[in-house]
Amino acid sequence: MKTVEEIKSAIEAAVPEAAVEIAPNPNPALPHSLRIAPECALAVAKFLRDDAELKLDYLSNVTGVDWPESLEAVYHLYSVEKKHGPVVIRMHTVNRTDQVELPSLTPVWRSAEFQEREIFDLYGIVFTGHPDLRRLLMWEGFKDHPMRRDYVEPDDFEYEPTAHDEVLKRTQTHQAMVTSEPITSSKGSEGGA
Amino acid sequence: MSQTPFFENLDQIFVLLQHWLVSFLPTSWQPAAGVLLSVAAIVCLFPALFALTTVFERKGLARIQNRLGPNRVGPFGIFQPIADAIKSLTKEDIVPLSADAAVHFLAPLLLVITVFMGFAVLPMGRNMVLVDLDAGLLFYFAMGASSELAVFMAGWSSRNKYSLLGAMRAVAQMISYEVPLLLSSVAVVMITGSLSLTKIVEAQNQYTWGLPHWYIFTPWGFAGFVMYAIATTAETNRSPFDLPEGESELVAGYHTEYSGFKFALFFLGEYVAMFSISGLGTTLFLGGWSAPLSFLTWIPSWIWFFSKLMLSIFVFIWMRGTLPRLRQDQLMNFAWKFVLPMCLVNLLVAALWRFMGDGWLRWVFCSAILIAAYAGMGLGEMRRQRLGPRSYRYAE
């Protein structure tokens, strides 16, 4: 199995226009990953899958990560034929608000189909070229993306007898909205439930 | 026939009882009253048997699956059907808004009525037959065939996709299996030379060396019985042919939209159909009410009839506990490409049997034809569909 640096040079040799950089992982648990510019991602992915030496034919895991300045999609690749891996590739969006498009890798690895839908659903990354980009876990018509760190939970009040900290605060704001009578501690709300 | 009068009376107890009761009435009323009494007896007896069978079925299935089964209502759970009856009577009777209410209401009634009509010609013991029709078998099949209408009415009127799919499956299946059902019975008619069910039983009620002359103990009778049993299972929508109700596919098939008492009627109809069709099978192939060994003839005939009936019910339950179900197209293929040809071969064999006369040669010859046909067709079909056990390799 090639090292990450060798893979990088192999990609650059095969796909000259590709912009690939190594994103270091401070932890020895997983090799450094390859950050790929979205424009050439499809070509790089195809190279990784079809290259006779790499043969990364199996895309195991696709996931989103919410960084403070951008959204990221992470792909974990293995080879079933050569039994090596993992190679981690990642892609960044430009920002977290309006430029959240990334190319879909579903045309190269079918296993990305549901996982990219899930990322679209939970993180709001729009995968261009995905054959069927709909929400996966949340329902159609749901607003917002729950896995983002700035996601605000809706005010769906649920009685909890041991409300404390955040839950108590939420309970109180909800009660303030619904009734004029605020509750002070958790025991006080027992009658209202 | 060395029967003591006591056992003879016991054998005829129901007949005597009926005569005694009717004798209080004027002579001109007597035939009608006699019939009414018998009808009442049948209409009471089989639902009771149905109630018992449901609890036996649940317990039997439970034991097959290493469970205890219902054991909470009464000793050994024997009163479970009463609790079930109360439950289904008190449940809300839901009719879907878009359903055709009249047809939706009539379907379970029609099913139950047609199913009970079949009992009119079944001899349930010596001299115990409601109407001894000369063409009893024909009447029976005519009645059996009309139950398909009820099933289709139920599926169609419910306006539910699962009901409709279930009804379509049920009708296709029941019509397909009607053919082998009839053809396997025809062999019996050919040998006996009569359509009267009483005559068919009489023909089997003879003994050689203490062994009975039941048709199942002949090559053609055995093959006919197997084909009849397969067709019966399909006709009554029992596992492994329970596609019309296939729970994992069609929720509950044609009675998806029935609840409460109407659902109970469907349930009743199905079980009573099972009794009646096993009763017919008993009559045709298992010697009806005749005893299995000549020295057992002192036991009343109706006991033999009902024992054989319950035995076949047990086999139904046993199969239900073991077998997965077939698919619709496989079921149809099986009917038309295997059971039907086998029935035709069996007709041929029955004819041979009749004309070859006594002797061991006809046993060998008839059995050989049947076994060859069975194995040839079965293996051919398995090979054509590429079915069979497989071997597996291991990676290092």
Binding site: L30, N61, L137 | L61, R390
Partner: protein, 394 residues
């Protein structure tokens, strides 16, 4: 849709049939019948829906709909400490909680560079293989249940599962929600009596597999229903990320126990059965054969288990803060590759916590396998994938 065109241009030199399921055309005139199978359909476990378009009884289109059991497990885990997510992993694939524990513990141990004592590794293998055994047995039971076998095989499977769950309860205190593994070992040690009882149970398991074999393997109806149904080609299976017995039934030799040799699997002698047809029958048989291999592994592990501690002395329970960085830990769970992807920013909570659910990803090819088959086979194919909705929806 210029974006789409550029994609197809890039892929033009190698047309891939596995990119999308084929589009089915109905025969003759007439409309398609849209049937929603689920979420209240008896075969869909109550929390799954398949929107099926039927031409007669033939499936023309199939859309799985998820999310009925979604509780955002990942978000919950990102809001609490590493340890507090351990009991939640029990509830992913609730048929095999031990392997979920194991995969999560493995990922965190990689992240923290934590060693695991020998005896704990053996206990993990023993419990993991017991879990695999009972999962395969009950999944075959569910499959035959959906084939209409009145639950008899399922009940036999549950009879054996009961014995295994009793062992789990005795050791961990709970039958299903075991919460057994910790980062750097296992929570409690097994007593000699427990090991002895486990040996006794394992000795009886082979007889149970034989019973299953007699009951089902040569049954003509089962063969007719499953052979040639729901065929999955090896290329598509690999490309779609299908793992576990389903992948091996398609003839692909990929078992993470062999490939990664995580834990101490390198020490055990076992074989990987492979199917040649990739149909439902192969999936069934691969599970049967894997059960037999599991018994072999169990016997070896129970013979060789050493004495010693079950928790590494360096393991930390309170104030556990792994190093910065990311880790991906994966194991061969009974249903396929179960992976946990963790990003740590050095804090007490994971920055990113991701579960790679085998059940969800194995369903990617559901439509491909179901197109053109009878509606009764949809249920069967769905059953042969062997999913648990707790893991699909998370």
């Amino acid at each position: 849709m210029s974006e789409m065109q550029s994609h197809s241009a890039i892929l033009a030199d190698k047309p891939e049939s596995w990119n999308r399921p084929a589009v089915m055309e109905p025969e003759g005139e007439g409309e398609l019948m849209e049937v929603a199978m689920g979420p209240h359909h008896p075969s869909t476990h109550g929390v799954f829906r398949m929107d099926v378009a039927l031409d007669g009884e033939r499936v023309m289109r199939l859309r799985p709909v998820f999310g009925y059991l979604h509780r955002n497990h990942e978000k919950i885990a990102e809001g609490q400490s590493y340890l507090a997510s351990m009991p939640y992993t029990d509830r992913l694939d609730y048929i095999c909680p031990i392997t979920n524990n194991w995969a999560y513990a493995l990922a965190v141990e990689k992240l923290a560079g934590q060693e695991v004592p020998e005896r704990a590794e053996y206990l993990r293998v023993i419990l993991g293989e017991l879990t695999r055994f009972q999962n395969h047995a009950s999944s075959i039971g569910f499959l035959t249940q959906e084939m209409g076998a009145m639950g008899t095989p399922l009940m036999y499977a549950f009879r054996e599962r009961e014995k295994i769950l009793d062992l789990f309860e005795e050791l961990t205190g709970a039958r299903m929600m075991v919460n057994y593994m910790r980062f750097g070992g296992c929570r409690v040690d097994a007593s000699p009596g427990w090991l002895e009882r486990t040996r006794k149970v394992v000795a009886g398991l082979a007889g149970f597999v034989d019973e299953f074999d007699r009951l089902l393997s040569t049954n003509e109806i089962l063969m007719a229903r499953t052979q040639g149904v729901g065929v999955l080609k090896a290329e598509l299976a690999v490309n779609a990320g299908v793992t576990g017995p389903m992948l091996r039934a398609s003839g692909v030799n990929y078992d993470i126990r062999k490939v990664d040799g995580y834990g101490i699997y390198n020490r055990f002698n076992f074989r990987v059965p492979l199917g040649d047809h990739g149909d439902v029958y192969d999936r069934y048989m691969i599970r049967m054969l894997e059960m037999r291999e599991s018994i072999g592994i169990l016997q070896q592990a129970l013979r060789e288990i050493p004495a010693g501690p079950v928790m590494s002395p360096t393991a930390k329970l309170r104030g556990f803060r792994p190093k910065r960085g990311e880790a991906y830990g994966r194991i061969e769970a009974p249903k396929g590759e179960l992976g946990f992807y963790l990003i740590s920013n050095g804090g007490p909570n994971p920055y990113r916590y991701r579960v790679r659910p085998p059940s969800l990803i194995n369903l990617t090819v559901l439509e491909d396998m179901c197109l053109g088959v009878n509606v009764a086979d949809v249920v069967l194919i769905f059953g042969s994938v062997d999913i648990v909705l707790g893991e699909v929806d998370r």
